[in-house]
């Protein structure tokens, strides 16, 4: 029982300016976040009735192909010009504003849905995308991915990340137009069609 035998010491106080410290480890979000993390307006990053709103939606499924009913999805994206928003107010949305951040719990069929802006590309030579973070019971450390857009074929073909991913898995990073101003982005945690998940140097 190494954890119990180790002497416990209060950590050094106010270690500002001292040596770098170790990463605090992740733990699963568990099944009981329902009163804590989802919030009214969380999925409506851009008010759905505004002409420039797009929908990003999809199903989260497991290695058996079954939808996961207890995942929670976050998106974070730039504005139409490719710039990150610095607006506050993600918890109390200004119906005409845009903070870029959204959160949606999946429903019992594993489905999530956001309305947001289609971002512009952040850099010359990069394709536009939304950052997606996924949390669930059974997922001990959240998973990052990106949702690119299938109506940007030229930009996608030149994008440095998409170019590096195996061709047969690349489509898992691309949201598919399924209706006017609507894109489908399914997330498969394991198995056939497993989504490409990303390491930003954060897998420590």
């Amino acid at each position: 029982m190494p954890d119990e035998s180790m002497p416990r010491q209060a950590p050094a106080r106010h270690a500002l300016g001292q040596q770098a410290q170790g990463q605090t480890p992740s733990q699963t979000v568990g099944p009981f976040f329902g009163y804590a993390l989802p919030y009214p307006g969380g999925p409506d990053v851009r008010a759905p009735w505004l002409h420039d709103a797009i929908r990003l939606h999809g199903t989260v499924s497991d290695g058996a192909g079954d939808p996961i009913p207890d995942a929670i999805v976050e998106i974070w994206g730039a504005d139409a010009a490719g710039r990150p928003s610095t607006e506050r107010g993600s918890f109390d949305r200004d119906q005409h504003g845009f903070t870029g951040y959204g959160r949606a719990a999946v429903d019992r069929d594993g489905h999530y849905s956001f309305t947001t802006l289609k971002p512009g590309a952040a850099r010359e030579g990069s394709a536009p995308y939304l950052v997606v973070a996924l949390f669930a019971r059974g997922v001990l450390h959240h998973l990052f991915t990106r949702a690119y857009f299938d109506d940007e074929p030229e930009a996608n073909a030149a994008d440095p990340l998409l170019s590096r991913v195996d061709a047969d898995r690349r489509d898992t990073l691309v949201a598919r137009s399924d209706a006017p101003r609507s894109y489908r982005f399914d997330v498969r945690l394991q198995g056939d069609g497993e989504t490409v998940f990303l390491d930003y140097g954060t897998e420590v």
């Binding site: 416990r8 990463q23 733990q27 950052v131 059974g138 990340l161 420590v204």
Partner: protein
Amino acid sequence: MQRPASQPELTQATISGEIADRHGRERDAAASAGAPLAAHPRRDFAPYRSTLLRHPTHELVRADPEEIELVSPAFGHTDVSPEEADLTIQHVGEPLGERIVITGRVLDGESRPVRNQLVEIWQANASGRYVHKRDQHPAPLDPNFTGVGRLITGDDGSYRLTTIKPGAYPWKNHRNAWRPAHIHFSFFGSAFTQRLVTQMYFPGDPLFALDPIYQSIVDPAARERLVASYDHDVSEPEWSLGYRWDVVLTGPKSTWMEPEDADHA
């Protein structure tokens, strides 16, 4: 309260054996690679059975963070009111349980404060029961405790919250499985790559060695970083016990660049 039927015959001994085997394999692999043990849990940590169909089997693909990933959503006092940091004042009456204060700082890997960022928490009540329709544990709900709070860190990265100590609770990973008492925390860093959801534990819990979620962190030193310290200076006479827990969010973030014309300013 009716006692539920007993669980499947997957014993703690089997789970504990699997934990020990995996820890041994991870230590050997780290030693032969000359690499440190990982700080984060292994996503394919089989003793925690819910991981089996929920971990990716492909290696994660290394991505260069772009600007959007190197900054974080902005939260502020328009989003969160100061009362939300006190979980004991959300109802007409006071919740049952041991009143506690938890305080600490959120820092980056260079010990710089993560200032003015969002912290969210949720937890079971003193009996080990969550306000959640899927929590079937036959322990009493507390009408004066929802178990949800949030706050914005100060300029020095500090946070402080008041709550009650949560109870341990049973779960169905294996027969006689109990989660050590814990509080769920969600953090945003100064970059979205630093996003972290985790659980804070209390010192000396006898369930640590038995819990496959806690033990999914294979590095003992990293596990210790999830355990708060009792701090008598945080305890308040005739009022509450105090715990201190600092959090470190490493990972890439934007570096402040000196303007090109700085020499001419």
